[in-house]
């Protein structure tokens, strides 16, 4: 099976994730989209590992670490979102524009 299938799939998922990050209004949904992107990267890595690695585990290890980091990031990110919600009673990103002119 040509590897490019996996790669294109990964790219597609990544782009969809990008769309989600940019277009969604709810902060939690943005986090969800980020997870999507990370996943696509995982697929990419594992595909390459299967293709090129002699015993094929380097990429998998990497992907494993990515999962771990993703978990950490989600934890912290959600903590922040909850804090923001507590202060502003809303998780609408469009309203969180204090850093403007």
């Amino acid at each position: 099976m040509p590897i490019s299938y996996f790669l294109v799939l990964s790219a597609l998922l990544f782009s969809i994730g990008v769309y989600g990050v940019l277009a969604r209004q709810n902060a939690v949904l943005v986090l969800l989209s980020i997870e999507l992107m990370l996943n696509s990267v995982n697929i990419n890595l594992v595909a390459f590992a299967a293709q090129f690695g002699e015993n094929g585990v380097g990429g998998q290890i990497f992907a494993l670490f990515i999962i771990a980091v993703a978990a950490a990031e989600v934890g912290v990110g959600l903590a922040i979102v909850i804090l923001i919600f507590r202060n502003r009673q809303s998780v609408d990103i469009d309203e969180m524009s204090l850093m403007k002119w």
């Binding site: 099976m1 040509p2 590897i3 594992v46 290890i61 999962i67």
Partner: protein
């Protein structure tokens, strides 16, 4: 003989994944979005199995689906996510779509251009089991492993600190 199997499985799960992903970013119901994500993640796990990464597939299911999505759901609940449909896309949808499309076009083009013709052989016999993975983790990649542990610890503590109610 097994190839059409695998290719067929690939197409199936790919389809599921893409569809779910699309629904994640377009649905009006946040809870549904989270659930669609589950679908995507399970599809990813299937992919992993297809790519000789069994341990990773289980880890994906356990951690991602089991923990992260649940965490998301908790987050949604705690932030009073609206039940039912709502408007969740902001004004720069079209720009975002454009951006995503561009990104997709560019990356896929590059990837295909670089790796066209390469084939994955499905006759691998090593590096598949959890044992193999564990072997490598605790010998070659032990340092990153430890670092990631510390990272998780830091994230844990940080999250608790951040989200603590001030008394």
């Amino acid at each position: 003989m097994a190839e059409w199997w695998q290719e067929g499985a690939f197409w199936l799960f790919a389809l599921i994944m893409v569809f779910s992903a699309l629904r994640v970013v377009t649905t009006g119901n946040v809870i549904h979005a989270a659930l669609y994500l589950v679908g995507t993640l399970l599809g990813a796990a299937a992919m992993f199995v297809l790519l000789f990464a069994e341990f990773l597939a289980w880890a994906q299911v356990l951690v991602y689906v089991g923990a992260i999505v649940v965490l998301m759901l908790f987050g949604l609940m705690l932030t009073r996510a609206p039940i039912g449909k709502g408007k969740f896309d902001n004004d720069q949808r079209w720009l975002a779509a454009l951006c995503a499309a561009a990104l997709f076009g560019v990356t896929s083009y590059i990837l295909v251009d670089a790796f066209d013709g390469e084939e994955i052989s499905f006759t691998r016999t090593v590096g598949i089991t959890a044992e193999d993975v564990g072997d490598v983790i605790f010998s070659v990649y032990v340092l990153p492993f430890e670092v990631v542990s510390v990272l998780l610890l830091a994230a844990l503590v940080g999250a608790v600190v951040i989200a603590r109610r001030d008394r």
